[in-house]
C-alpha cells in the first residue's frame, strides 16, 4: 500500500468539444512525497493534467487513479487535493484569515481548531499576524503565501501549483523557489508544480515531466533531463544547446561536421543518422587547430558569470559557447570538448526505447 503510486494516469486523453486534443494518450505514475514538475511551453497540456488531477475537468478517455482508486467520477470537492492557482484566486470578499479558514469551515471543523490551524498555516508561510488583513492590502508575494497557506491548511495528500510564481518579479521568484522547495520537504507532501520556466523546474524538482503537444516527451531527474535529453525538443527547451546532425559510425564513434569523434554512446545501428547535442558550457576555447573544431566568432555578449559567444564552423553550424575566457569577434578559434560531453540522440526514439537501449549497452559494457 505504501509503495502504491499516489497518482496514476492510464492512457488518458483529453479532447475539447471542438475536437482539439490537448492531452494524447498519456500514462505516468507519481510517487508519494516527491516534488514533481510539469514543464513545457504554453498549450502543451501541462495545466490540463493539473486540472484533471484537481477534478475541474474529466478525461475524455482513460483512467486516473488516486491511491489505486479510480477517481474519474469523483468531483473536485471530494478529492484530497488542493490547488495554488496561477492568479492565486483568493476570495476578495474575505480577509486573510477567512480565506485560509474557507476549507476548514466547509468541513465543519471546530472553531478553536480552525483558529489553531489557520495561525499555524500562517506561521508556516511566514505571515503570522496578518490574519485580519484584506487581500487587497497584500503584495503579490504575500498573496502567494496566503494561497499556499489556504491549500496546506486542509492537509491534502497532493498540492497542485499552477505557475504560481509567474506573476512575481525575478528576485521574489527565486526566493519563493527556495521556500517552496523547503516547504515541500518539511511537509513531506506530494507537490505537482506546473511551469514553463526550465530554470525553475531544474532548481526545484525531484522529477520533471517535459511536455509538448499533449505528450510527455521525457521524464526524469533534473540532471537526467539536462544531461541526457532524449530528443531535439527537450534538448532545446531545457537550457541552451548546440544541436547538429550527425552519423553514428559504430559504437562509441560518431561523425559530425565531417569529422569523427570518440563518444560515450552505443547501442545504435552502424551509420545511423542522429542528432548531436553539446552544451555551451562544455565547449572550451583554445587556439586555432589545437581544438576539435575551428570556428569563427560572430558575436560576444558579457553575461556576468561568463561570456556568451556565438560562433560558426565552416559548414555554417552555429556553436554557442559559454566561457569565462574572452575571445576576439571575427577571430578564428578552436573549440575543445571531451567524449562524454557529446550527447547522441536517436531520431524519433521514445523514452522507453531510450531507457532500454541504455540498459542493454550498460549491461554489455559490464560483461566486457
Amino acid at each position: 500500500m505504501a509503495n502504491q503510486p499516489i497518482i496514476r494516469f492510464e492512457n488518458v486523453t483529453k479532447k475539447y468539444s471542438d475536437e482539439t486534443t490537448v492531452l494524447d494518450n498519456v500514462s505516468f505514475e507519481l510517487e508519494r512525497g516527491k516534488f514533481y514538475t510539469l514543464l513545457g511551453p504554453s498549450g502543451c497540456g501541462k495545466t490540463t493534467i493539473l486540472r484533471l488531477i484537481a477534478g475541474f475537468i474529466e478525461p475524455t478517455e482513460g483512467t486516473i487513479y488516486f491511491n489505486g482508486k479510480n477517481i474519474n467520477n469523483v468531483p473536485a470537492n471530494e478529492r484530497q487535493v488542493n490547488t495554488v492557482f496561477q492568479d492565486y484566486a483568493l476570495f476578495p470578499h474575505l480577509n486573510v484569515y477567512e480565506n485560509i479558514a474557507f476549507g476548514l469551515r466547509i468541513k465543519k471543523v471546530k472553531k478553536d481548531e480552525i483558529d489553531r490551524k489557520v495561525k499555524e498555516a500562517l506561521k508556516f508561510v511566514n505571515l503570522a499576524g496578518y490574519e485580519s488583513r484584506e487581500i487587497t492590502e497584500m503584495s503579490g508575494g504575500q498573496r502567494q503565501r496566503v494561497a499556499i497557506a489556504r491549500a496546506i491548511v486542509n492537509d491534502p495528500e497532493i498540492i497542485l501549483l499552477d505557475e504560481p510564481l509567474s506573476a512575481l518579479d525575478l528576485k521574489l521568484r527565486s526566493e519563493m523557489q527556495y521556500e517552496l522547495r523547503e516547504l515541500q520537504q518539511r511537509l513531506g507532501k506530494t507537490f505537482i508544480f506546473v511551469t514553463h520556466d526550465q530554470e525553475e523546474a531544474l532548481a526545484m524538482s525531484d522529477e520533471i515531466f517535459v511536455m509538448n503537444d499533449g505528450v510527455i516527451q521525457q521524464s526524469g531527474t533534473p540532471l537526467d533531463i539536462y544531461d541526457e535529453p532524449i530528443n531535439r525538443f527537450v534538448a532545446d527547451f531545457i537550457g541552451e544547446s548546440n544541436i547538429v546532425a550527425g552519423r553514428m559510425i559504430e559504437d562509441y564513434i560518431v561523425e559530425f561536421t565531417g569529422k569523427r569523434f570518440d563518444c560515450a554512446d552505443a547501442g545504435l545501428q552502424p551509420n545511423e543518422k542522429v542528432d548531436i547535442v553539446i552544451r555551451p558550457e562544455d565547449l572550451e576555447i583554445s587556439t586555432v587547430d589545437t581544438g576539435k573544431l575551428n570556428v569563427t566568432v560572430d558575436t560576444q555578449l558579457f553575461r556576468g558569470v561568463h561570456y556568451e559567444l556565438s560562433t560558426y564552423d565552416q559548414d555554417g553550424n552555429e556553436w554557442l559557447v559559454h566561457s569565462t575566457k574572452k575571445a576576439e569577434v571575427g577571430a578564428v578559434i578552436g573549440l575543445d570538448f571531451n567524449p562524454e560531453d557529446i550527447h547522441v540522440m536517436r531520431l524519433n526514439e521514445s523514452e522507453e526505447e531510450y531507457d532500454a537501449r541504455l540498459e542493454s549497452y550498460g549491461a554489455s559494457a559490464d560483461e566486457e
Binding site: N77, F91, F102, I106, N154
Partner: protein, 286 residues
C-alpha cells in the same frame, strides 16, 4: 525664475477655471430639475386646500388610510422586486454561460426600448376576457378567468417591465466574476450550493443591490399600471399622488405623500448602496 513661478501658479488656476466651466451644466441641471422641484414639493406640502399654512397634511399621512396605502405600496413593490430577482438571477447566470452572451442580453433588453404605455396596452389585449390567454384557457378546459384587474396581472406585468433592469446589473456582476474563484471554492471542498452561497452570491451582491434599487424604487410609485392593468384595485403611493393632484386637486396632500416617497427612496438607497469590500471588487485580481 519669476516667470516660471508665475506659470506654476497659473497652471492649477487655469485647471480650476476650466473645471468650473465644465460643471455649469451639471450644476444648472441639479438646481433646476432636482433641488428646485424638491423644494417646491416640500413647500406645497405645508398648505391645505384653501391655501393656508398647515401641518395637517403630515398628521393625515399617519392616519390608517395612508398607512395602509404605504404598506400596500411596499408590499407590491416587494413582490415585484422579489419575483424579478428570482427570475433575473438564474437568467443572468445562464446568459453568462452562453456563447453569444451579448446577443442574448440584447434580446432581453430590446423590449425595454418599447414605450411603456404601448406594452401595457398590449397586455390589456392579451389578458382581456376575449383575449388569446383566455381563449387558451378555454381550449385547455379551465374556462374563462378574470385575469385583468387582479393582483396577479398587476405583479406579472410589472415584473415583465422591470426585469431587464434587474438582469443588467446582475449580469455585469456575474460576468466580471473570476471563474478561478469558483474552481478555488470547489477545490477547497465546497459543493455547488456552498460555492454559490459563500463565493458567487457575496461577490455579486452589489449587482443584486443595484438591481433591487432600480426595480423597488420605481415600483413604489407605479401608477399607470395600477390603473390600466390592476383597474385601480391596487392603490399605491403613486396612484394616491396622482389622485390628489388630478382628481381631488389637493396639492398639499399630494406633495406630502411625495415627500414621504422621497424619504423612503432615500432610505432604500442608503441600504442598497453598500461599500464594496476590497478595491478590486468583483474578484478579478488586478
Amino acid at each position: 525664475m519669476t516667470r516660471d513661478l508665475n506659470l506654476m501658479e497659473r497652471l492649477p488656476m487655469k485647471n480650476n477655471r476650466l473645471r468650473s466651466i465644465y460643471s455649469v451644466p451639471y450644476a444648472a441641471w441639479i438646481l433646476l430639475f432636482v433641488l428646485a422641484p424638491i423644494a417646491l414639493i416640500v413647500y406645497y406640502s405645508f398648505f391645505d386646500l384653501t391655501g393656508n399654512f398647515t401641518l395637517s397634511n403630515y398628521r393625515n399621512f399617519f392616519t390608517s388610510v395612508y398607512l395602509q396605502l404605504t404598506t400596500s405600496s411596499f408590499w407590491y413593490a416587494f413582490l415585484i422586486t422579489l419575483f424579478s430577482l428570482l427570475i433575473a438571477y438564474p437568467t443572468a447566470y445562464f446568459i453568462t454561460k452562453t456563447k453569444h452572451k451579448q446577443l442574448w442580453l440584447l434580446l432581453i433588453i430590446i423590449p425595454s426600448w418599447i414605450n411603456l404605455l404601448l406594452k401595457t396596452y398590449a397586455f390589456i389585449g392579451l389578458m382581456g376576457l376575449y383575449g388569446p390567454l383566455n381563449a387558451l384557457l378555454e381550449v385547455v378546459g379551465i374556462g374563462k378567468q378574470q385575469i385583468l384587474f387582479t393582483d396577479f396581472s398587476f405583479v406579472f406585468v410589472s415584473v415583465y417591465i422591470f426585469i431587464p433592469f434587474m438582469i443588467l446589473p446582475i449580469f455585469n456582476a456575474l460576468d466580471k466574476l473570476n471563474p478561478a474563484l469558483i474552481d478555488a471554492s470547489r477545490d477547497l471542498g465546497a459543493n455547488s450550493w456552498t460555492t454559490f452561497k459563500r463565493v458567487v452570491w457575496p461577490l455579486t451582491i452589489n449587482g443584486v443591490k443595484s438591481g433591487i434599487q432600480v426595480v423597488f424604487i420605481p415600483a413604489l410609485s407605479l401608477f399607470m399600471i395600477t390603473r390600466l392593468i390592476a383597474g385601480n384595485k391596487v392603490i399605491t403611493l403613486g396612484t394616491a399622488i396622482e389622485q390628489q393632484f388630478l382628481v381631488t386637486q389637493n396639492w398639499g396632500m399630494g406633495s406630502t405623500i411625495a415627500v414621504f416617497l422621497i424619504l423612503f427612496m432615500f432610505i432604500i438607497m442608503l441600504f442598497t448602496t453598500g461599500k464594496e469590500r476590497g478595491a478590486t471588487g468583483n474578484g478579478k485580481n488586478r
